[in-house]
Structures are given as C-alpha cells and as structure tokens.
C-alpha cells in the first residue's frame, strides 16, 4: 500500500492508483474537479487541466516538490507523496485560469441550453472561476449538426474533453466518431458524416460535461430543474435497464443513466431504454432519487452566493471608463 497525503488528509491506496482516484476515496473538498477524465473510459484524462494539483513532496524517498503542477487524473501516487489541492494558492490560481480558458470560446448560451442546471462547466466556473471576463475577441463558431437522428451536436459548446470519442471507440465498437482538424478549430465529427447508429451511442450524451451533445427526443421539452428524477428499471435484453426517469406528473420527459457523486454514469444504458421508452408503463418506478452531486438541480447550492446577489456585468465597465477619463 502507498501512503498519500492530500490537503492534510492521509490515505493508503493500492499501487497504480492516481492522485484523483485517491482523493475521491477521501471525498469532500480534497477532490479536484475533473472535466475530461472518466473512470470508465480507458485513456481519458490529462486534457482539460482542471484537475491540476501541486505535489509539494514527491515521495518518501525523494521529498523534493515537483517543478510543475500535475494532472491528478493521470499521475500515479508514489509512496509518501504530499499533494495540495484547495490548500495551494498556486493551484487555485491555475484553476481559475483554466476556467477562463474554457469559457473564452464558450457561447455562454445557458438560457437556451438543455444542459443548463446539470452542466459541469457551470458548476466548475461557479466554484472556481471569476466574475468578470477579460476576453473581447471574436468567438469561434460552428453550425449545429445532427449526429444521427437522435443526437444533436452544438460544437460551439464543446470543451474538447474527448470523452465522447472514447465512448464511440470503446463502448460502441466502431470508430466512426472522432476529432477533425487541430487547435481551437478542431471539431467533433462522425467521420464523413456517418451517423452513429450503434445501440449504445446515446451514452455520449451522458458523458458530455457540457451541452454540446444533447438528446433530440428531449431538446427544449423542459428545463431539468422542473423535472423530478426517479430511479426506475425495466427488464431490458440489451443493458442493465437501470436508469433515471425524469418526470413531471406521470409523464416521462427523458431517460438517462444513473450518475454517481462525481457525475459519472454508473452503468451505460442502451438506446432503446434511452430514446424509445418514454411511457410510464415501460418502467418500474422505484421512487424519487436525490442527486448525489451538487448542481443547480440538487438545490441550495447556488443559494450560497452572498454578495453581490445580482451580478451586474456593466459594473466593471463603468468603473474602468471613469478610471480612463
């Protein structure tokens, strides 16, 4: 067993465990946010850089600090390692910068985005970002496209976490969904506009941390916070049939996988369960569920905001103008 200390809390973990996995075992505020790593997707992680942490002591043998912040999702624990997450001003500063980078080309169209209310990027920026924006250049823009007849892609909102690419690769077996071009113009695409017709393709919607991939059978039908999440199951020949049914009254608006406290799907579900079974009679509804992770739909979270209760985007502008004069 290897000993790891993170933000003054110590834990013993098995060889091969990453810093992020170890932190998740402790839970609470020592867990760095993760926008690209996904425990169920091999090869994922390392890209978004939101999980950067400071290694203040490299190991018991060599306690020197590592020169750079490291991506906790892809850095294996070494015995005697001491890591700082929330306790390092350097980490908080870097994370703030990453949020800024992720947002500069983001359209911020939350009012018309289906993901709003359960969006990892909203949560991330609420927790780590800053109120003002220093970006005044043009944003990159893409057309909205259909990926098959069940999924919509809003490339403008994509943060290029590659999760959907790994799903297409690993779950649905056929590599027809990948990334084209490079840099800030790279885009998700099904190669040569093939649609994803695999029976598990709908899971790309659940793994997408933002509203880039949305469910066409649910789009614009309702805001998630007006719906009641209910655990439900059915005897499905293809998948586990264990889902969340998002209901209003006795009507099912959408079906998703069940997610754990870190926002990861517990079991991937098939397209039939997700897109076709929208009748209450299709399901055995177990009862209401409380979402394990904080988000706008788990309520109270956004209430914590103290001052200012209304953010005036013009405030800073007005100030700077008077300063300039």
């Amino acid at each position: 067993m290897l000993k790891l200390t993170i933000d003054h809390q110590t834990i013993e973990v098995a060889e091969g465990t990453t810093i992020l996995q170890a932190a998740r075992k402790i839970g609470g505020s020592v867990v760095p946010p993760a926008m690209c790593w996904y425990s169920k997707l091999e090869g994922s992680g390392g890209k978004c850089r939101t999980c950067l942490v400071k290694v203040s002591e490299g190991s018991a043998k060599d306690p020197r600090p590592l020169p750079k912040l490291v991506a906790s999702c892809r850095t294996p624990v070494i015995d005697g390692m001491v890591v700082q997450n929330k306790t390092s001003p350097e980490v908080l500063e870097a994370r703030k910068a990453i949020v800024e980078f992720l947002l500069i080309n983001h359209p911020l169209d939350c009012p018309v985005c289906d993901q709003a209310g359960e969006c990892d990027l909203q949560d991330l920026s609420y927790d780590n970002g800053k109120v003002s924006c220093r970006y005044q250049e043009s944003r990159r823009e893409f057309d909205v496209i259909d990926i098959g007849n069940l999924i919509k892609l809003h490339m403008n909102r994509c943060i290029l976490c590659y999760r959907c690419v790994y799903v297409a690769d690993q779950i649905s077996g056929k590599r027809i969904h990948g990334i084209l071009y490079r840099g800030d113009v790279s885009e998700i695409s099904t190669y040569i506009k093939n649609s994803i017709d695999h029976n598990f393709s709908g899971n790309v919607i659940d793994v997408c941390p933002v509203g880039a991939l949305t469910d066409k059978t649910f789009r614009f039908k309702n805001r998630v916070w007006f719906l009641k999440p209910m655990t439900a199951h059915r005897d499905c020949p293809t998948c586990s049939g264990k889902v969340i049914a998002w209901m209003r009254g006795s009507e099912i608006y959408r079906i998703t996988g069940r997610k754990d406290e870190f926002g990861e799907v517990e079991e991937f579900i098939c397209n039939e369960c997700r897109f076709e079974k929208k009748n209450i009679n299709d399901w055995i509804v177990e009862g209401p569920t409380t979402l394990k992770r904080h988000s706008v739909i788990s309520q109270n979270h956004y209430k914590e905001i103290k001052t200012p209760s209304v953010i005036n985007p013009l405030e800073e502008k007005m100030e700077t103008q008077t300063n300039d004069e």
Binding site: R134, L160, D184
Partner: protein
C-alpha cells in the same frame, strides 16, 4: 577553435552517394562498432562524449540511452526525429540533403548500441524532396551490406525506413511523432510513461534528433574523450546553427561550441555582420520558441562578460537576462524590425500548430494571437499588454507538452525586453495603420 565534425566533407562533389562517402572514410565507425565493440561500450563512449540532444531540449544523449527498458522482451526501436518545423531552424534538412549517409551511419551504430533491429527516420511532410534522397541512400546501404540481415557478417540485423509526416509542427514532439508514425492523429501523449519504456507500438523506444545521431559515428571512431575535448565545459562538440534574418551571410554553420556570440554575428566567415551596416536590435538564438533578447543581452551577460555560444552561457541569467541555445535557429533583427509584428507572427504560428488537446494551449494561443493582431494593426489598448503577459503566464507550465511553453515564451520575452515597442503601437495607432505591410488586407480577407 573551429573544428568540424559533421560538415567537414559536405563540399565534396557527390558526397551524397555511397561510393564517394565511403571513399572519404564513411561507414568506418560501423565496422569498428560491430566488429570490435560491445553495445555497452558504445553507450559508455557516448556518455563520456557529453553529447546533448540537438533537438532543442539538450538532454544528455548517453543518459537517455540508459533509460531504455532492456528487461521487457519486447522489440526496441530507434526513431530519428527529422520533423524540423520550428521557425528559424533549418539545419537537419541541410544535413539530410547533403550527407544522408552520415545520418544512416550514426543510426546503425546507435541501433547496435541500443539493441534495436528496426529504425525509422520521420521527416516532416514538407520535406518531400528528401524522401528520394534518403531512400536512395538507404537502398545503397542495403546493397553494400550495411543494412539488412547479418550486417558485415555479424549477427546484427537492422532495417531502416523513412516516413514522412503530413505537415504538422506538433509531430516534432516525440510522443506526437510516435502517434503519427503509428498512423494515428498526432496528439502528444501524456507522460509518464516515457518513450524509453512505452514508445512506438508500446515498445521501448529512443527518439533522437537528426544532428544528435549524425554525431555518433565520430564518437565511435575517435572515442568520447576526443569528442568532449571539442567545445567548452558541458557544451561539448560542435553545433549546427542555421542563421537567418538581417545578416550578410545567412546559412547553416557548424561551430565549435564556446565561440562568442559577437564573433558569430560579426565575423566574415559566419554571419558577416548586419545587412546594410544597420544596428543590431534583437536576436532569437535557438528557434522561435526561445526568448527574444536585445543586443546588450545577446552580446553580454548580466555580469558584463561576453556571451558565448554554449548552452550554459546563453541561458545565464534565466529568463530575466538570458535565453536558450535551443535547436540553433539563429534569427537576427536589425534596428528597423518591428518586434510587435514579429511576436504576432510567431504567435500566429503556435496558434495554427497547437494540437488542441489541452485547454490552456488550445484557447490561450488563439487569444494571444488575436490580441497581438489588434496591437500590431493599431487597435490595441494599454491593458492588452499586461493581459498578454498574464495569458502567457497562465499557459506556461500548465500544458501536456512543451508547445504551450514555446508559445508563451516569445510573447513574454518580447514584452519583457521591448515593452516600448508595444506601447508605441498603442499610443500611435494612426502611424501604425499607415505603415503598409500589405498583410492587414490579406489577413482580413482570409476568414
């Protein structure tokens, strides 16, 4: 001073061909290595030579070779990095074009030392013209028994292939290169594991620069000590410097490490001074990603000593008052050079070449380019200058591969040393707008 290792014979007519190269002492090192030396002895000599990676990072080559995983029973690979795409660097292509056999010779010795039976030369996509030259040289080496099965009757066998990229700077980063060589999208891998353990096709792999490998023949022939006696201190041997910009004699020079920068710029047998007798304004000594520095810094260190062409001397003073030797792409600017325009140009390059995997580099490079475009074309404001410094600072050190740093350093150093140029652009937009470079029009019509 002034000894040559690599380009000694480069002017001999038809040295490209096997016969001429062989007649001038070519491939002698292969005979010596295979017939009289043990692989570990060669590695020992390379360590003694103090040879450091010529691809930019200057990592000691012998040490890198000892990291190669020999315990796994997997095949091992040697990959020669000929992607050379850094603006200002054009030495590897010169070497491969003039002396293809020198590279192959070095690679055979290196492969023997590392226990490698398959070696690749990865060249950038734009080097199509080199494909024929290298392939012909490889074929000649096969025909003459220096490649293939049982080389020179020993039980050492080696196959060698040339592989062109598809035109991406990022494929010069060693792990992106390996991905590309495997036929995948050229995204840098997340390290660890390092290529020495998990490299090409998940097998232990050594990646070295063209110039690095071309030096190995000499080291085998004359020994590590002989190599180390050339150069100065820890900067042993010679270095190819590709000099360009506003100088009288642009070109590729092989210099003995340790000569003064001043001599290199002003001496007739090297750069030959600044064109039209103008004043020197700035130098980028190691390819576009190393910090740009003004005349007083490139000629003298902070303590007033003459700056030398060595890894140590050029880096003296850190980023405050130093820079780096990098890959040896030596770019010279005269008094009329617009540093803002140059910075914007570099920035445009890194924005274009970012693979887009990690957020700081993907988003930050584009952001910097857009701001620099505005300043250069008379639409900047004072706050932009500090904003640029802040963005560069946030990219640096937070990315998967060093391209992020390479994009940040030129911007940060330009503002550190030439802030007045930026302020001038902001203060006098009308003057700036009237300086017609022709690019404003073109750029606007590209979108």
């Amino acid at each position: 001073m002034g000894r040559k290792i690599l380009l000694e014979n480069s002017d001999i007519p038809n040295i490209k061909s096997f016969d001429v190269f062989r007649a001038h002492g070519g491939y002698v090192s292969v005979e010596k290595a295979l017939k009289t030396m043990a692989p570990d002895e060669i590695i020992e000599e390379v360590k003694k030579s103090g040879l450091r990676g010529r691809g930019g990072a200057a990592f000691p080559t012998g040490l890198k070779w000892t990291f190669l995983d020999r315990k796994s029973n997997k095949p091992r690979y040697l990959v020669c990095n000929g992607d050379e795409s850094e603006p200002g660097t054009f030495k590897d292509r010169y070497l491969m074009e003039k002396l293809p056999h020198l590279l192959i010779e070095g690679m055979i010795c290196s492969s023997f030392a590392l226990g490698v039976n398959t070696a690749y030369i990865y060249i950038r996509g734009e080097f199509k013209y080199l494909l024929g030259i290298l392939n012909q040289a490889i074929n000649e080496a096969y025909k003459n028994g220096f490649l293939g099965k049982n080389i020179l009757g020993t039980n050492f066998s080696l196959d060698m292939y040339v592989h062109p990229g598809a035109g991406a700077y990022i494929c010069g980063e060693e792990t992106a290169l390996l991905e590309s060589l495997e036929g995948k999208r050229g995204n840098p891998r997340i390290k660890p594991p390092f290529p020495a353990v998990v490299g090409l096709y998940d097998c232990p792999t050594v990646v070295n620069n063209v110039e690095t490998l071309a030096n190995v023949g000499y080291i085998v022939n004359f020994g590590g000590d002989a190599y180390a006696s050339i150069g100065l201190g820890k900067s042993t041997g010679t270095k190819l410097i590709s000099a360009c910009g506003k100088i009288n004699n642009p070109g590729v020079y092989e210099i003995e490490l340790g000569m003064s920068v001043e001599d290199f710029i002003y001496k007739e047998e090297f750069c030959g001074g600044i064109k039209d007798n103008l004043e020197l304004k700035a130098v980028v000594p190691g390819g576009s990603s190393v910090p740009i520095v003004p005349k007083k810094i490139i000629l003298f260190t902070a303590s007033g000593e003459k700056r030398l062409m060595t890894y140590e001397s050029l880096a003296e003073g850190g980023f405050e008052s130093g820079t780096m030797l990098g890959s040896g792409g030596f770019i010279v600017y005269d008094q009329n050079a617009c540093i803002v325009r140059n910075t914007w140009n570099f920035s445009r390059f890194y924005h274009h070449e970012s693979c887009g995997q990690c957020s700081p580099c993907r988003e930050g490079t584009g952001w910097m380019e857009k701001i620099l475009w505005r300043i250069e074309h008379g639409f900047g404001n004072m706050k932009d200058i500090d904003l640029l410094v802040s963005i560069a600072d946030k990219i640096e050190g937070n990315t998967i591969c060093p391209l992020g740093d390479a994009a940040a350093w030129p911007v940060a150093s330009a503002i550190r040393h030439f802030r007045e140029d930026f302020i001038f652009h902001v203060q006098y937009p009308e003057i700036i707008k009237n300086i017609k470079h022709g690019a404003l029009y073109k750029y606007e019509n590209q979108d």
